[in-house]
Symmetry: C2
Subunit: 757 residues, 2 copies
């Protein structure tokens, strides 16, 4: 079953509208909650009057920051650690009177219906004391008065650095030294289903049904937020309409859980609007980079240096982990004897940066791969050739985190495929001396990406399997299907090990922390690798139990038994059907015992995926318009479990990468930090009308660490696209844009500066 | 925790209305299904016209017997067997054109709402060919034309018999030979929540949410009914508002599953009305008995003979198992060298008999214990003394089914307690020579009852436990809470083994065949005994895993470790808290593995419960009214897990028994078999106004077979009450009533015949 493009197990239900999402499951008598958001960007609430809202007919409850538990909790979807030093930063209250960004959560209304809840919000009266708003991390890192968080005088959430070799020496030995700065924008995940949850109480416990990537982590965070034992929380995750990392934070569920407690356990729904999703959930961090490199005459990198300043926004969320991930990535893949890295994550009065597909790597890849082209241009070398000269061939490992290693390394093969598709050599020449308004270019970028989070953080997964009466197998996992096809590939893995047909594998798609094995969830491109390892182990256990039971049923049989598509074979003969064996296991009067297997395992391994994007663009200089003529991603993600799903994954990631390169950007009012385009009309997400023909290709090396030779694929496709487009524009026009997205305004500005217009 | 009267784990939610039952969980966009019932008692549908119903606005689908799968399936909640000889009788179609009783299911309507569905029913036009209706099993057993089921020419569903010793010889040796006939009525369970389900489809599978005692069995039966693999069915059981055996049959769920398939998987709700519950679900069998016994001068039973004729109604349901259970019980408990038993279960054109609390024993106990009093009267002996002379003391076992044995036998102790409470000796004398209209009497009856169904049928149970992060434990069982307190006693068992507090045990009350361990469900008073055995085993496994993991965390510790209320002790010292251990098991970077345990075990054992009822009544002869002055049940059910819950269980059973003795009876029109009082106004269920002070007492012997010394208690309380009342009336008035319930009409008739009026 591995390597087969079987249809998604949830395809039919999803295209027919039968699949049940959180809102479909909410009881009809749900109360509706709405959040009152601050109308200033920085300050404190001096007074709040909710009496008019409370008096409104249909309002059940109004709570403010004064009513919520008076302790902080962390929101990010990390596994948690028993060691305080490794725990996430707890800087959130469920509601706050200290406004740290425009839209901060001050109060909430619970009403019989949504219209009443909205009306009640408008009746809440708040007086603020305002402080100056700081949106620029370069300013904020030197402190503000008062600091954004009291325990952080300089607003620097964290700073880390490393040294490999001696960069100063390396630069001295270099023939050319180049310095550049790059900057990436705030973007938003724009999953189709906004965050939504409903909560109610049962037997003194709180049940939260939520559109989340991380049900088991959410249980823990809600417990922390409310200050009650974690087992008193139960989180249920139905199908979800996308997450891309935004649902790897615990957003409004602690509030929702708190609200149901305030109304005697009645169900309360908290459906986050699109505008709130933009303003009040999470974004991709805007990060600035200062890059320095030295190269010798042959184009070998002798030294490189990166300063990374990440705009965290008002709360820690995943915090420095994202900048740190970029820092790690900076020392991988390209050979260089002297490397220095330094990263700052800085609080500002802006929307909160969190996890988003690629977790800091799209940013550092934009900077780093633009930089590679800029160096190549400086030394007059073909940028592909320049990369090849510096890329490590074959096995390599991280200098500090040894399990992070390229056990297989297909980057050269990827580059060959990409260059061939885009006709690199031909077109680099063909487009080298253009004039006129319409110019074409080809560009590329590459990346590497680790698979899961070991050894930076815990990797653990769980699986349980049951042999049903009809010989089919049920699977329960704590890992989550979030639209990426996880359920399908897990079924393929089980079918592979058990040598069964796909239709005989039934996966339980809803995760429920009360019953589903513990798994940290969907993030870090980990599930196919980490959970897959455990699915394999669990299926092997079940297979052994089946064959052991078959031996019990056939004590006279001496030949070796095997399992093959619904039959137990003894040697080459059909010995007993799996259905008959299963029926015996349930109903035999002499030796019935239902066959199940359960595994909970730590997975202490990692491996590195690579890949690249090649793009051909046509630039209309006067209109500031980029048209993508051809684009391809080539991925070295090990063995593909389901090539068709892998291709779809790449298509989606490339679409996200094109938006990142061309149009997406959350704009903020500089004075208040208020988002200016927090809706899908003004925020320019790629649509099918903007999207060219997308090509995805693969180099399938069998990775020894992957349970089925596989490695990360979930996030990588989004990473190399924006810099590839930018580099193609550089090729076409000779103008180096150092900030994405390449909007018409930015292009016109750049072309004017370069004298092209 | 064993033997403690802790509050029910679901108490608060149930009294506050927070607990979610099937109807609470149904989605708001559910379609509504209604069944078209036959308006004749026996015959065939000649033609059916649904065109007007289909044309009605809001009607989504109309199906008739012509549309359903053309094969039969069995409905009873038995575990199933891989051996055809042990399988239940398959004589049902989802809908039928061969009407076998008044109200048989011919067609069904699915509409947007209930009013439309009801209107559509009235637009269906049916023409019948009618056959004569036979409601009397004594007539039906000689056959009908055509037979009720074609493969049963004589309408006898089954006949079984046995011989122990030689009854003819025994009777010859006897000094007195007595013959009597007795008859019990059709009664109904009258659970407060009528049967209800809703069904929908997901990923090609059918999900049925149902108020059932037997979710795992229901999955199998729906699979059989639809002719599809059983794993394509998923049954979910929320809290249920009583079952008493009626929800141990699979009633309308196969139809509901079929209907959702007909409407593209949209959710369809099938809410059975109270009238339908009386007419179309299940009832307690009406059974007739012919009893013969011979005794010697000292009152020793030398021979006894029972002929039992059970009215099955139109479909097999649990069929002969109920009469056979009575037959088995007839040879137990009283010593008698010569016993003969013969039982017939006969199809008639009446509502279907099925499982109901006591499973044939309330009937045979009524006959047998009335008979004991009638014999005692005949030979002039005190009926209690007569019983004691014949009861077996200490251990005994069944002649044919060895594992059914009284490993502990507290019947004499029970009798002593009952006699003392009712002041037996004093009142038997005091009331011996009464005249006048108002007369008092004391009477009693006793019984024995096996615990679970082994070795007649399969006993298997499953449990899964998870150690939560906070050191609490989650439990998942396939066994069902049906209002009897099962969840609470299972939590107590786990708390006992794990030496934990009740609040640290969280039980998953909803059963879901996709995720909940396999267990056959709530019936046969089996769960505390059978499932309890497995709960104990599973808790012991989890405890071992916890202590093993503790050793891993403390390799230097050489003392023996033990678990005590949230602490791991090393010798007498607190070594590590269970919470810390649990946190390590989830989050340790070196050795995390979530601790779970799962057990699926066949339970090959049985034991016998006993008990008795003593009643004091006052009879108003001219009004035909019985007033219960005092009544007590004393039960020998082994060690009580929760004495308060046990007492409540007895109270409920005694209420049911009083209704059986005094007022309850489903009356049928003789010509059509149509129920005449199929509602709670005309069917005289006991209310709090009719109920005297009820006393429950226990004899707690530690049974070696019970996991915690416990044995059956669920059904027994309902068994001895009706004959105790009848025997008290006999004592008060000298008139022997041989049919329950003792309604005013029956009493007046009897007293007139006896010359008292």
């Amino acid at each position: 079953m591995i390597g087969k493009s079987v249809p998604r197990v949830d395809a039919y239900d999803k295209v027919t509208g039968r699949a049940k999402f959180t809102d479909d499951m909410a009881p009809h008598n749900c109360l509706v909650a709405k959040v009152y958001h601050a109308r200033i960007g920085n300050g404190v609430v001096k007074s709040i009057d909710t009496s008019k809202a409370e008096a409104l007919d249909g309002v059940v409850k109004v709570v403010t920051f004064k009513d919520v538990p008076n302790h902080c909790y962390p929101t990010p979807g990390h596994p948690w650690s028993v060691e305080p030093a490794h725990q996430d930063i707890a800087d959130r209250n469920i509601l706050t009177g200290r406004v740290r960004y425009y839209g901060d959560d001050i109060a909430a209304v619970v009403a019989e219906d949504e219209v009443t809840a909205q009306r009640a919000l408008r009746l809440i009266e708040v007086e603020y004391e305002e402080y100056p708003v700081v949106t620029d991390p370069r300013k904020s890192m030197w402190g503000s008065k008062p600091p954004i968080h009291l325990d952080k005088k300089d607003n620097v959430l964290a700073r880390t650095n490393y040294f490999i070799g001696n960069v100063e020496e390396g630069l001295k030995q270099s023939d050319t030294v180049i310095k550049r700065t790059y900057k990436t924008p705030i973007v938003q995940h724009c999953h189709i289903e906004n965050p939504i949850s409903y909560a109610y109480m049962e037997n003194g416990r709180i049940i939260v049904v939520s559109s989340t990537q991380i049900p088991h982590i959410m249980r823990r965070v809600i417990g922390q937020a409310l200050g009650i034992p974690w087992s008193k929380i139960r989180v249920i995750k139905p199908y979800i309409g996308g997450g891309f990392g935004n649902k790897q934070d615990v957003l409004y569920e602690p509030l929702n859980a708190f609200l149901t407690m305030q109304v005697g356990g009645r169900p309360v729904k908290l459906d986050v609007s699109r505008e709130e999703t933009f303003c009040n959930t999470r974004t991709r961090h805007s990060i600035e980079y200062e890059l320095t490199a030295g190269v010798d005459k042959e184009g070998h990198l002798l030294a490189k240096d990166m300063l990374e300043i990440s705009n965290q926004g008002a709360y820690a969320s995943h915090g420095h982990a994202i900048a740190a991930n970029g820092l790690t990535s900076f020392r991988l893949q390209y050979a260089c004897p002297n490397i220095k890295g330094e990263a700052y994550t800085v609080y500002t009065n802006t929307p909160v940066g969190g996890a988003m597909r690629g977790y800091g790597i799209p940013q550092v890849c934009f900077a780093g791969e633009c930089f590679m082209d800029d160096i190549a241009k400086e030394i007059g070398m073909d940028p592909l050739e320049f990369r090849k000269r510096n890329l490590i061939q074959g096995y390599y490992e991280d200098a500090y985190l040894k399990p992070i290693a390229a056990h297989t390394n297909g980057i050269f093969a990827c580059l060959d495929k990409g260059a061939e598709y885009i006709q690199w050599d031909k077109k680099r020449k063909e487009y080298s001396n253009q004039t006129g308004n319409i110019r074409r270019g080809v560009g590329m970028a590459l990346f590497s990406y680790k698979t899961g989070v070991w050894p930076i953080s815990l990797e653990i997964a769980g699986a349980r399997m049951v042999l049903n009466q009809d010989g089919s197998v049920g699977i329960m996992l704590g890992a989550t299907e979030i639209g990426q096809g996880a359920d399908t590939v897990f079924c393929q893995m089980a079918a592979e090990v058990l040598n069964m047909d796909m239709e005989d594998i039934h996966i339980q798609s809803v995760q429920d922390t009360d019953v589903t094995p513990f798994d940290t969830g969907a993030y870090a491109s980990r599930q196919t690798f980490v959970t897959g390892t455990v699915v394999k182990e669990c299926a092997e256990q079940l297979k052994k139990k089946i064959l052991d039971y078959a031996k019990e049923l056939m004590p006279e049989e001496t030949r070796e038994l095997s399992l093959d598509h619904g039959w137990i074979f003894a040697g080459e003969d059909h010995a007993i059907s799996l259905e008959r064996l299963a029926m015996e296991s349930y109903y035999s009067l002499s030796n019935s015992s239902v066959l199940t297997a359960e595994v909970s395992s730590q997975v202490k391994k990692n491996t590195i995926s690579t890949g690249c994007c090649f793009a051909e663009v046509e630039v209309d200089i006067k209109l500031g318009k980029i048209k993508i003529l051809n684009i391809i991603n080539v991925h070295d993600s090990g063995k593909l479990i389901n090539p068709k799903l892998a291709e779809m994954q790449v298509h989606g990631g490339m679409s996200m990468g094109m938006g990142y390169g061309l149009s997406e950007q959350l704009l903020l009012d500089e004075k208040t930090g208020r988002p200016l385009n927090a809706n899908l009309l003004d925020y320019k997400l790629m649509t099918i009308m903007d999207t060219p023909e997308i090509k995805a290709d693969f180099v399938e090396l069998e990775d020894p660490e992957g349970p089925f030779g596989n490695k990360a694929l979930g996030e990588p496709p989004a990473i190399p696209v924006a810099p590839a487009i930018r580099n193609a524009v550089l090729h076409a026009t000779g103008v180096a844009f150092n900030e994405n997205p390449l909007t018409p305004q930015k292009l016109i500005d750049g072309f004017m500066k370069a004298g092209l217009i």
